[in-house]
């Protein structure tokens, strides 16, 4: 049962021995900061009379070019944040990999166990 359940799980538990505990969730941090920044800017735009006037002027001068550019701007922003999240995650993995020695060299046998093996035996 223990072998079965760990085998049928996706490969993640066995593959990432370095991630035994919860890690910093960079996606949440970066997306949270990004969404928060957009929210703050939008709030300022909505509450400042000059910004409101600028938005109205922009709307009246909308052309297909500006519409396409705006859509591209939004898509680019989403891609940018996604990329940043990926970079942060990769850096995190690299740091975690450096911190964890090669499994064979480890003296502490318990750290070599794939995640999930300990509680399976305990059940």
């Amino acid at each position: 049962m223990s072998g079965q359940s760990t085998d049928t799980m996706d490969a993640a538990p066995a593959a990432v021995g370095a991630e035994d505990g919860p890690r910093t969730r960079w996606a949440g941090i970066v997306w949270g900061l990004g969404l928060g920044a957009v929210g703050v800017l939008a709030l300022k735009a909505v509450l400042t009379p000059q910004w409101r006037a600028a938005i109205v002027d922009w709307t009246l001068q909308v052309t297909p070019l500006t519409v396409v550019s705006s859509v591209l701007l939004v898509l680019g922003g989403l891609l940018l944040v996604t990329g940043l999240v990926g970079v942060a995650r990769r850096a995190q993995r690299a740091v975690a990999g450096r911190r964890t020695p090669v499994p064979v060299m480890a003296e502490d046998g318990s750290s070599l166990l794939p995640v999930g093996a300990d509680d399976e035996t305990g059940r």
């Binding site: 359940s5 890690r23 969730r25 949440g28």
Partner: protein, 519 residues
């Protein structure tokens, strides 16, 4: 073959087994489906279905939300799934309730069941787009009063459900230490108990092990008693009849035993199949639980209480913002409230990330609030007219922005005369028609990017329509400026109402129609 089912013999059968009740059989069937509610956003029904099919839970959730918004009773189905599908500990909520064990999760299920009977789809549409439709209407103040309670009500229901879930999680974690991995209550006992719960089922007796004699006698057993002796002997002496009877009795006993064996084998096969299904479901549940535990340990979610706290803070911040920004306008106040709520949610996401917690639900809520806030804010700032907008002069000034589309302005006299409020129209592309009624003096101040101003006078007595094209008064950087006044007094008298019109239009013409009146 057919006589096997029609044999009217009273079969005492083996000792009566623990025949599963009708209800238990139903639950056994449900368990056999192999769908196990895993840890998800609410009851984990979508996550369970996704795990069963082997796709991402977000896809199932997306389909669920979309079908619900389209009017499909997805919420009701979700409630049914929540109540009837087994959880990771193998317990079915309704079954537990039937056994007199109350699970606090039932509160959440009950609330959701009540909500599912509301016209959620139309309600959701109107709530989502109310700020757009309501705030832009002239009577938007009423909406401003109604918006905050709607927000409070919606978030309150979410909070209540989350509270019930957190309670159930607490109670299950404190009392259910031995629950994981334990087989479900409906699991059968030993194979000895398997029995002919349904002896009249379509038993297909295999003739392989049935002797020819017994098969031959089957007809005798099935037939009325008198046919067998006719075949046995022409002279029925009492001794031979007794002998025949004893043989027949012996045969009947053998036959009954054989039939029971067949029925038992059939029931055992069914039971075996059922147990295999159940075993599969249990294995799946165990695997799902192991995965869930691994996920909980390595990538834990934010707790329901944390989400609740963040939502509460967002609600407080949003409400305060709405109150303080109410003077700017209803739409702006609503947008500010939504944006502040989203900002608080975003901060909650970032803090959750620092605390090593995933924030799926929080991220979803924050994104939704931000998107709606941006939309409402933009529409509130621009206040765009529809594709075809109609304005009518009144005592109060009016200001409208219209990116695209045509505009109809009706110039009507005020009841007591005087100067009407300025109509300030700023347009992107589209024509403008101005209908000037009698008793008004229209004062047009228009700046046109590339259009012209054409006016026509329709005499009260009929006759030819006089049409003319205005020449620009001057040219500016924004385009041609037209300043033009026309007095449409009734019966030659001076008009009592002055109507100033201020129009800035990037592309398109202005058509003025003057309706003369005699009296």
């Amino acid at each position: 073959m057919t006589d096997a089912t029609s044999t009217p013999l009273a079969d005492p059968g083996p000792p009566p087994p623990r025949t599963p009740s009708r209800e238990a059989g139903f639950f056994t069937w449900v368990r056999g489906l192999g769908i196990v509610r895993t840890r998800g956003w609410l009851g984990g029904v979508c996550a369970g279905i996704a795990a069963r099919i082997g796709i991402d839970p977000l896809i199932v959730r997306g389909i669920f939300v979309v079908t619900a918004l389209l009017g499909f009773p997805a919420l009701l189905l979700y409630v049914i799934g929540w109540a009837l599908l087994p959880g990771l500990d193998g317990r079915i909520l309704v079954q537990e309730l039937g056994r007199g064990r109350f699970d606090p999760t039932m509160i959440a299920v009950g609330i959701l069941a009540l909500v599912s009977f509301l016209p959620v789809a139309s309600w959701a549409w109107s709530v989502l787009f109310w700020p757009v439709t309501g705030a832009l209407s002239p009577t938007g103040v009423v909406g401003a009063i109604g918006f905050v309670p709607a927000l409070v009500l919606g978030l309150g229901v979410v909070a209540l459900v989350l509270w019930a879930i957190s309670r159930s999680h607490r109670s299950s974690s404190s009392g259910g230490a031995s629950a994981p991995g334990s087989p479900s209550a409906a699991a059968p006992g030993a194979t000895a108990d398997l029995a002919s719960a349904n002896p009249a089922a379509s038993a297909a007796p295999g003739p392989a092990d049935a002797s020819g004699a017994s098969m031959a006698g089957a007809d005798a057993a099935a037939a009325p008693f008198g046919t067998a002796p006719a075949a046995a002997s022409d002279i029925p002496s009492p001794a031979s009849v007794d002998e025949w009877r004893s043989q027949h009795e012996q045969w009947r006993t053998q036959h009954d035993a054989w039939r029971r064996q067949q029925a038992d084998a059939d029931a055992a096969a069914r039971e075996q199949a059922r147990r295999e299904r159940e075993e599969q479901g249990r294995a799946f549940a165990a695997a799902a639980q192991a995965k869930a535990e691994w996920r909980r340990r390595t990538r834990p979610r934010t707790s329901a209480l944390y989400v609740l706290g963040v939502l509460g803070a967002g609600l407080v911040g949003g409400a305060v913002t709405a109150l303080s920004a109410a003077h700017v306008g209803v739409a702006i106040a609503c947008a500010s409230a939504l944006l502040v709520c989203a900002i608080v949610g975003a901060a909650g996401m970032a803090v959750a990330g620092i605390l090593h917690r995933r924030s799926g639900f929080l991220a979803f809520t924050t994104s939704a609030l931000l998107a709606i806030g941006l939309m409402v804010g933009y529409l509130g700032v621009v206040q765009p007219g529809s594709w075809s907008m109609s304005l009518s002069t009144s005592a109060v000034p009016q200001s409208q922005v219209q990116a695209f589309g045509s505009t109809d302005i009706s110039v009507v006299p005020l009841e007591h005369g005087g100067t009407a409020g300025v109509v300030d129209l700023r347009k992107g592309s589209g024509d403008t028609q101005i209908l000037v009624q009698g008793g008004t003096r229209v004062a047009l101040d228009a700046t046109l990017g590339d259009g012209t101003v054409v006016y026509e006078v329709e005499p009260a007595a009929g006759g030819d329509v006089h049409s003319s094209r205005l020449q620009p008064t001057r040219r500016s950087a924004d385009g041609d400026v037209y300043r033009w006044t026309y007095d449409n007094g009734i019966g030659g008298a001076a008009a009592k109402t002055l109507v100033p019109l201020q129009i800035t239009q990037a592309h398109g013409d202005i058509y003025v129609v003057i309706m003369e009146e005699d009296r």
